[in-house]
Point group: C2
Chain length 445, copies 2
């Protein structure tokens, strides 16, 4: 039986699980590939306290320059070092498998150009336990993809679920996520939408062959959300989720990551806790939804090894979904300008509770061509969650002696330019006490 020797760079939770799974499940891995896949060497910055039974080294070149090693599995994290590792592996004609979404968000097209036929696998880079890369590339490949909408970050979904189920506020739910190991000590990338954006960019390359960049798309996180928003959503039969969205209209692709209100009876709304799910609509296949673990050691290892096995089987699918350059397509897909994106919107305004305020606000919205669909007023006293956590207090000093209320409203469809313009003008009003908070309403149709 043919043998493939693999070096694992980065022996943390995922790396350890990759090594153990290659050993534990060696029976089926050989039976399903016809190849013996051997975890030959682990590379780690510090080789103490590693619970694996293979040789370890601290020297990258022991893997990258070793002619006995056929394949490099990169599980280091970060952007620059892994990119250097990838380039060196490709230069030395070693297959390369990675779980690194951030590196691919920035460098996937450079790797595609540099690899010259050497296989690259990255199933584990998007939603650890969901084989969404292969689903898009191999399963749905006959379709023009009309949209991708997904819960792509387990940490933020856990926090949103806690806030929704227990009325916890953001800070409390975040602490719970950290205590349970769902959130890093520094959870910034998870919470500000960046991690989801990295994944969305990778999926867009597969579905649309588009070389979109992090800096060109709307990326918003889950900060700023308060229980009053969730209450409003529930009363209007919505759930609130952080979605990565790709939507194709004509030749324009609308890419964005932000909080959404979605119909509470939809499958996506049922995806709770640290789980992930991605809904894809193809022009022929209609809607499919793919649900599974978003992270975790053995879950991610499962995807890493599916790539190793694919390479062992000697498959030759294109790395980013397109064999020929996407330029050769009759219909070239371009990124839609952010301003043209349209949606329904939910807006939370904290305002002075005095006569005439609503009329001023409604007037500004009307000037921007925005019509209100529903409106609720709710008390916003000093004990409200928003105040406890000091969300962007603006003019609270000068308005101290007036009661404040929340105006919670939803709009009919309008453009991003309209809502952003209106919100900016509203924020300038003396009657508006803190920065307006907005969530887009996705009907999922």
């Amino acid at each position: 039986m043919k043998t493939i020797n693999v070096a694992i760079i980065g022996v943390g939770v995922v790396g350890t699980s990759v090594i153990k799974t290659l050993q534990d499940n060696q029976d089926i891995i050989s039976a399903r590939t016809g190849v013996k896949i051997i975890p030959k060497l682990g590379i780690a910055r510090n080789i103490k306290n590693k619970y694996v039974n293979i040789p370890l080294s601290t020297n990258l070149d022991d893997a990258l320059e070793n002619p006995e090693i056929d394949m490099i599995v990169e599980l280091v994290g970060g952007v620059d070092l892994p990119f250097q590792i990838a380039l060196k592996a490709l230069t030395n004609k070693k297959s390369f498998v990675t779980a690194n979404k951030a590196m691919l968000a920035y460098h996937r097209y450079e790797l595609e150009t540099q690899r010259q036929g050497t296989p690259i696998g990255f199933e584990a880079s998007v939603c650890g336990g969901i084989p969404i890369i292969k689903i898009l590339r191999d399963g749905l490949c006959a379709n023009h993809i009309l949209s991708i909408r997904g819960i792509m970050n387990g940490t933020s979904n856990y926090i949103l679920t806690q806030m929704s189920h227990t009325n916890a506020d953001f800070e409390v739910a975040l602490k719970q996520a950290q205590n349970l190991g769902y959130a890093e000590a520094d959870p910034t990338l998870d919470i500000n939408g960046s991690d989801s954006a990295h994944k969305l960019l990778i999926l867009s390359s597969l579905a649309y062959g588009i070389h979109a960049k992090v800096e060109d798309i709307i990326i918003e996180g889950i900060e700023g959300l308060i229980p009053e928003d969730i209450q409003f959503a529930k009363e209007h039969d919505y759930a609130i989720k952080l979605l990565g969205i790709a939507k194709k209209q004509d030749n324009e692709l609308d890419l964005r990551v932000h909080l959404c209100m979605i119909p509470k009876d939809s499958m996506l709304a049922k995806v709770d806790g640290a789980m992930n799910a991605i809904s894809v609509i193809g022009d022929k296949v209609g809607e499919g939804l793919y649900y599974g673990a978003g992270a975790g050691g053995s879950e991610t290892a499962s995807s890493v090894i599916s790539d190793i096995m694919e390479i062992a089987r000697n498959k030759t699918a294109p790395m980013l979904g397109y064999v020929s350059n996407s330029q050769s397509l009759e219909q070239v897909v371009m990124l839609a300008p952010k301003e043209k994106i349209s949606s329904r919107y939910y807006v939370r305004l904290k305002v002075n509770d005095k006569p005439g305020v609503l009329s001023i606000i409604a007037n500004i919205l009307a000037i921007w061509g925005i019509s209100i669909q529903s409106l609720i007023q709710r008390n916003a006293n000093e004990n409200s969650y928003a105040n406890q956590h000091e969300i962007q207090h603006k003019k609270s000093q000068q308005n101290q002696n007036l009661e404040s209320v929340f105006l919670l409203l939803s709009t009919h469809i309008c453009c991003e330019t309209q809502i952003q313009g209106a919100l900016k003008e509203l924020y300038n009003l003396q009657e508006v006490l803190e920065k307006p908070f907005m969530i887009r309403i996705e009907q999922l149709t």
Copy 2:
């Protein structure tokens, strides 16, 4: 650019859609494979009234014996003729793609043996729009699969959904399904569980390398279900679904198709109408759920063409998930004897409403070692759904002058032998007025 000529045998709803999609989406299909795929010829029994713009013939050999044809797509239906077509295609070294679950349920291992490296694709044979074959074979291949549980038949799921949402009885819901085109004029295979069983056998080959046969597994359909059963399920927080189930315990594989009560908050319980979904638990990846259209022309065409494209890309994955014979695995998986299967059970008994009946029934259950978890008594007068539709009336003549009631009960875990034995004995009681009806309760854990 390399060219592949495809002949489509069977130009019905799916065949027409395959031809049209190959033409409509030719841009992305070429970009994603680097190959020009041409629908060259259609074969149909009757070539009148076909809405495709390619040459048609009624002679199979125009495709099978034509050296210009590289690939045969079989969309005929049935078992024997398609199997003969497959054998001839393989003999002539033409790649073979099929959507035919029945033929594969009986002949998949013969095809695997005969093909000698010629590619065979059958993504469309299981749950039309869900790429579950590729998910199992390529995405989850690092895992020992612990269980597969799925809603694999859209017609029966539509009927169950209607019964649940509108309290319709079985006959009415079936008629609705037929009016909407979800059910065939002869819906036998959909309703009696056979269609789901065919799909389950195919998935089991991929997941376990097991050559199980239709006649060796439990196959039950949705007939006999009445609104009282659904009411009981709702009151106990269950939904009723027809599931195909594969569960591995040690070296034994438990394969079966039957109605199940499942927790109403589970993702599977939310799968309504004609949609399909399959939950797979892998030892490393945990649970994943894959949801999409179960049938339909363009949905099935999407999967057929994903196979065509895979072959065009020249992939060499094993046909049934295992390269080497599954005998070479250390742990050979064997089919579990039906009798050893254990579960919780729901039982509906129609009985005479007279003192002492419950005691007699409880006594029989106790003798068989079955303990009751919950029990409800409900009126079963002449206007009940069961009576309207004459479900297995047995001794109604001799008991005419007594009121009858339903006893609806759920049991703790027991074996199939126990429940079947007890039900048989209960049916023999004069007090039991019709054949006992049973549904297994799956906790989905």
